[in-house]
Symmetry: C2
Subunit: 203 residues, 2 copies
Amino acid sequence: MSKKERELTFTEVARRTQILQATTATINKLGYERTSLSEIAKEAGVAKSAIVYYFGSKETLLMSVLEHAFGALGTNIESAVALVSSPGDKLLAYARNYLDFIDQHRAELAAAVTIVVAHRTEDGKPLYLMENEDDTALLQSILSAGMDEGAFRRMPVSEAAKICEALLDMAITAVQRNLDADLTILKSELVDFIVSGLSPVSQ
Amino acid sequence: MSKKERELTFTEVARRTQILQATTATINKLGYERTSLSEIAKEAGVAKSAIVYYFGSKETLLMSVLEHAFGALGTNIESAVALVSSPGDKLLAYARNYLDFIDQHRAELAAAVTIVVAHRTEDGKPLYLMENEDDTALLQSILSAGMDEGAFRRMPVSEAAKICEALLDMAITAVQRNLDADLTILKSELVDFIVSGLSPVSQ
DNA sequence: CTATATTTTGACCGACCGGTCTAATCTCTT
DNA sequence: AAGAGATTAGACCGGTCGGTCAAAATATAG
């Protein structure tokens, strides 16, 4: 029963989940810089070497937190967008699901964004400066289709997508500031501003 | 001729300027995490202890970089806004000066924002999560006046100001990604989006 | 020139980091 | 029960960090 044969043993899954959750909690409690392997181990109630045993390195652990959080967010949005057909509705579904998901998964996303903002790759670059076009592919296709059929005003699709993402991400920043923040007003105003900013009849 | 009597000796000003510039250069070259006192000293061509001699601590040095960059930005915007009278014109002056200043002081602002995003205070909180309402006081007053006279649509002033700031800050992120980035399109689209998003006749 | 204050340096310190290693323990299979 | 592999804990390592310190170098003043 070696590790190679069985992909995931019971204890392995349990420990990994436990450590991932402890990592999220530690990041939200202490911030990125103070989140050392020792602190995560203390939070999880295991030895520091247990973390390395299950994740190989701190880097891998942090990337696992990212995959967990953003993977769920992406899946959620994709299925929500697929339920409607017009670009206007798709954009609304995208924005509202994005914001609602943040609202409902505060700890995971706050920790994930803390990592994205603070973690550096070997060459010293933070992850948030390395986003590629693929990350906004769905949004870009919605915007592009909407501009073609006149639902949105004409503007460079790449810039429009970045603007929408930047606005939606404001909700995560708000949660980072205060995990219990009331997002009601912000969510509503962000959706309104995006719609208004893309409106073809404005001015 | 003690330091207490004379506020700023000649060599003191020169060394401080030299070290501040070396700090900016090192941050943009190596990123925040690798910017140690040793690296800054190497870049400046002085001993590590000379930095501590002139700035007291790394923390104070980094805060000095911030004051230098954001102080100049704030002054610039304030005088530009004061030149026009209508809220619509003031908002345009605010946005365009903000973006042009970024365009023309890329190194200083990229380094400053890198610090704001990555540096942690004693309690582990990053500076960008500690912005207070005062930072957007001017913008809020412009937006408030514009809503009162119907130049902008009605919406919560605090949220509107945060949204505008977030959009304008996209230009700094672009510069952080690439110090030589062409900001022409982004600047223009950001101004358009802000105007469009605040337009009272949209929908 | 001498003495006094300022500036500069490099060796050094304690703390903490991510990660390794070894030995002990636990959990199965037989 | 026994042996094998999986799991755990804790001591330990090399390296880097921010910062200190005492001495050396440099200027300034009388």
